[in-house]
Every structure is written in structure tokens, then in C-alpha cells.
Subunit: 266 residues, 2 copies
DNA sequence: GTATAGAGGATTGTTGAACGATTCGGCAAT
DNA sequence: ATTGCCGAATCGTTCAACAATCCTCTATAC
């Protein structure tokens, strides 16, 4: 029942809609979120190494926030799978196992290929992909290897965005953030990131020509190579097989909803 | 550097591994998680209607936990997209928009079809699917419509588990949990859930015969029908278009990492 | 010597209270 | 009907405290 339909308004509906769209821009963020933002970038840029412990007292004091707020920030990052929480032991930067690595690429392969396959008729809106490639070229020519890695990941993020699905975007964002944890075990970021730039360009070119099916093949090969290269690097590193009881929240990993017994055991 | 390699152990590694697998079972859960478990089931079973506000003081008192702990539980559920958080206004049971509905089915179609297509050679391990169908038949014959809905969702969850990817499982778990919020707008659960039981059976039968491609076609049609039926039900209901500034955390939705400006806006 | 058992210290889990900040609703003034 | 203002209610955040738990180190027994 909406009675306020024919009310007189000085503003047109169009203008109001535009304002409503800007709404999220002015939503202030809570302290916990800002703390999470800071910690997230520190983790991603490698200031906190995988496996490092983040003591509440220490970090809270350094950032000037209370333990409670810090814990809220920790929760946020735990759900992004950047931190792992062990009961009564604290927060740790996650250490990805080879299994995690394999799974990340399994997801990427599944999702990204599906996105390309679901593309409609060309031409496709590839602006974001192009800008990512351009950024990658710039970073590469100036030897900013970390930025090159970022650009590569933005390329794939943009590719997923072609599906126009916020939830898929969020999934991808999370998976790619996790992947950054893996990158820290790579000793030579240049040798790892540079070859994939040209392959991204190749995929982009193929998409520009409207050959989505071929692009999908290229992508599958890309992912497979990247995965095996990382897995190889992992084999030479002594990454302790995390048989620990660390907790990482998936969307609803702690499942077991009353009346719905997920017989997974994982 | 791991020196403790050749240490003498009375136990065999095999046994130790088995025990390690049981570890999560006995890992006590924190209070916040248990609180989240309780609230989650209340939401899913509809005790808390979509749009309802959950005041901290009130609920905290009812459950006998402090506000701080309750807030942690709230955050867990926010990340599962069951609750939405509005700054300085509190927690609300999420109200899904038609856009959310469309997106959920976009994800399902993308992921589930990809899973079926990625299946290897038959026969497939379909035990979980079969048990879900059996449970559905039981619930249907006893007119337990809510359980029937649960069984249907377990069927699709099990289907995704064929991919063997924990992250994909988690994604699906979250998306299906969201779907339950939609179901609450359906006035006649029977008419909605019952037809899909036989279609699940049909898909299962096709998979048992090893015809994954055909199963994929059936699934796509299934999802499309289900989506449009729900969308239709939405059209008749006055669901306020949530153009609000409510915050819902995806895997890392609040993106905008320092040095990595995601120019998405959504 | 090796291994078990126990004590002590450090850190986390949780609570309770407090205070400023923000939102919402109502009432008066224009 | 719109605007401006005020008060109540609730949230955001901090602080301090205590119990519970884990880790390390030492002492003891074999």
C-alpha cells in the first residue's frame, strides 16, 4: 500500500534517483572498517608476512584503537580469508597451503571460463580490460613489479565483471586477494608477472575480435600455466602443511544450520 | 629450516593424520559463533522476518551475552549476507531486491552449469545427490514443505560439491542461504517447492546415466523457471526497492585498498 | 638423558559500564 | 505544507577488569 504516489514534488524523479545513487559515497565508514583497510594493505604489500601473528594489544596500541574495535577489524579480514583465527591464540596472517592454491585456481578456471562462455554477441564492453592492460604495460616499463601484479589481477577482475554479477565480482575479489598471499612466496616477482602481461594482451585482442570461445581456450591455458608455476614454487619452499585447527570463515562455512546437517566434515 | 625431521615418534604418521582430521570436531566454538548459529537458524526459519531490526540491547539481554559479543555475532551474519548493517541504525534482516534475486540465479547458473560441464568421465559420485532426493521425497510425502525446500537446496549444494572445491562450496552455501530469505515471500511453499523435486530427480537420473551435457541443459531450464517464478512472486509483493545505504560485506566488497583503487562504485 | 608433570606468565575471551555521536520522531514556528 | 529545533533512543567506541586458555620453562621421575 503506497499512498504517496501522486504527491506533488518540486524535484523530478530522475534527479532523485541520481542522488540516491550517490548515497553510498557519503556513507562514512566505521573505525573498524578503516582499521581493516589499513591492515589489509599492509598484508597485501607484504609488511605482515604470511604466518605472522598479530597481537591485539600491540597493534591496537600502534593504531590507537581499542581492543574491541581492533577485533572487529580482525573479523572483517578473517572473512576475506586474509587472516586466520585460532581460538585463544590470536590472529595470524594466513599461510596458504598447496591445496588452497589448487582450489583458488579451480575456482578461477570454473568461474572465469564460464563468464567468457556466457558472453553474448560481440562487441563486448572491454574498456576496463584495456585500461588494466595499459596500466600493466606502464608498470612493466617502469619496473614496478608489484604494480604489474596488481594490474594483472585487475585485468581478471574486470573480465569477471563482464558477467555483471555483483556476487561473482565479490567472489573473485576475495579469491584474488588470497592469491596475493601466495605471491609473497615468489622470490622474483618480475619473472612471474611479466610473461602473463603479454598473455593478457593476447586474450584481450581475441575478445576485441569477438572470438570469445578462442579467448576461453587461451584463458584456460593461462590459468593452468600460472597454477603449475606457483605450485612449483611452493614445492621448493618449506610451507608447513597447515594441519592446524585454524578457522577461516567462508560465506557460511560454520554451516550446520539447525535442521540442516551439512554432512561435509570440512 | 626444520630440524625436527627425523625425530623419534611412537605414533605413525597415518594415525596422526587421522586424528588431525578430527581436530575441527572438537574445536570449541566461541560464544559469538554459537550466538550466530542461533540467530542464523531463527532467520532461516523465519522467526525474524526480512526487514526486521535486531536491537543490540534487547537481543543481547535475551541471549544473555554482552553487547560486544553480540556485535561479533552480527558481523558474522552480515558477512553471510543474512543481515544488513546500517551505520548508527543497527542490524536488519536483509530484504532482497529483485536485483539480488536475479544476481543469485545468475551466479547459480554460471557456477552450477560450469560444475556439470567440468565433470570428468562417468560414473559420478552421486551418493549425496541421491540422499538429498530421498530426503525430499520423504518430506514431500509427509507435507513438511520447509524440509522439502531444505532438501532441494541440499541437492544443489551436493551438485556443486562434485567440483571438489571448498571455496565454490562456500560460495554456494552463502547464495543458497540468501535464497531462503526470498522463500519467505512465497505464500505457498508447497506449490513452489514440490515441482522442483521431480525435476531434481530427473537431473539426478540423467547424471546417473552419465549424460552430463543433457543434465546441464535440464539444470539451466530448471534455474530459469525457478528464477522467473520467484521474480513473478516478487512483482506481486510490495518489496520496497532497497535503495538504502545499507552495507553488506561481500568477500571484500569494501575494496578500495590503498594503492589499488577499484573504480567500481558498487 | 629423555620424558612427563606442574608452575608461572602472557594473551585472548568476555563482560560491564560509560560517554560522545547519530538518528529518528514529534512539536512549534513560519 | 515546510522548516527548524529539541529530546529520547540507539549505536559506536573506549576503558578496565577478570576468567579461561595457551605457551614456556623448570623440576621431577624413570
Amino acid at each position: 500500500m503506497f499512498f504517496a504516489v501522486g504527491f506533488t514534488s518540486a524535484m523530478s524523479d530522475d534527479v532523485l534517483d541520481e542522488l540516491a545513487a550517490d548515497r553510498n559515497l557519503l556513507s562514512r565508514t566505521s573505525t573498524a572498517e578503516r582499521v581493516a583497510d589499513i591492515l589489509r594493505s599492509r598484508i597485501i604489500e607484504g609488511a605482515f608476512r604470511p604466518g605472522a601473528r598479530l597481537p591485539e594489544e600491540e597493534i591496537g596500541a600502534a593504531l590507537g584503537v581499542s581492543r574491541n574495535t581492533l577485533r572487529e577489524a580482525f573479523r572483517l579480514l578473517t572473512h576475506e580469508r586474509l587472516l586466520a583465527h585460532r581460538l585463544n591464540r590470536g590472529m595470524f596472517v594466513r599461510v596458504l597451503t598447496v591445496e588452497d592454491l589448487e582450489d583458488i585456481y579451480r575456482v578461477r578456471s570454473l568461474v572465469q571460463c564460464a563468464v567468457l562462455r556466457a558472453l553474448g554477441e560481440p562487441p563486448y564492453p572491454l574498456a576496463a580490460l584495456e585500461s588494466a592492460v595499459t596500466a600493466g604495460r606502464g608498470a612493466s616499463s617502469e619496473a614496478r613489479w608489484r604494480d604489474l601484479g596488481t594490474a594483472n589481477m585487475r585485468f581478471h577482475q574486470a573480465m569477471v565483471e563482464l558477467a555483471g554479477s555483483p556476487r561473482t565480482d565479490a567472489l573473485m575479489r576475495g579469491v584474488l586477494a588470497e592469491l596475493r598471499l601466495v605471491f609473497h612466496v615468489m622470490d622474483d616477482p618480475r619473472r612471474f608477472h611479466e610473461p602473463y602481461l603479454v598473455r593478457n594482451e593476447e586474450i584481450l585482442r581475441t575478445l576485441q575480435q569477438g572470438e570469445a570461445a578462442e579467448a576461453e581456450r587461451l584463458l584456460a591455458a593461462y590459468l593452468d600455466d600460472s597454477r603449475s608455476q606457483l605450485a612449483g614454487a611452493y614445492a621448493t619452499t618449506d610451507v608447513p602443511r597447515a594441519r592446524d585447527g585454524s578457522t577461516v570463515y567462508g560465506s557460511a562455512v560454520h554451516g550446520r544450520t539447525a535442521g540442516e546437517r551439512t554432512a561435509d566434515g570440512r
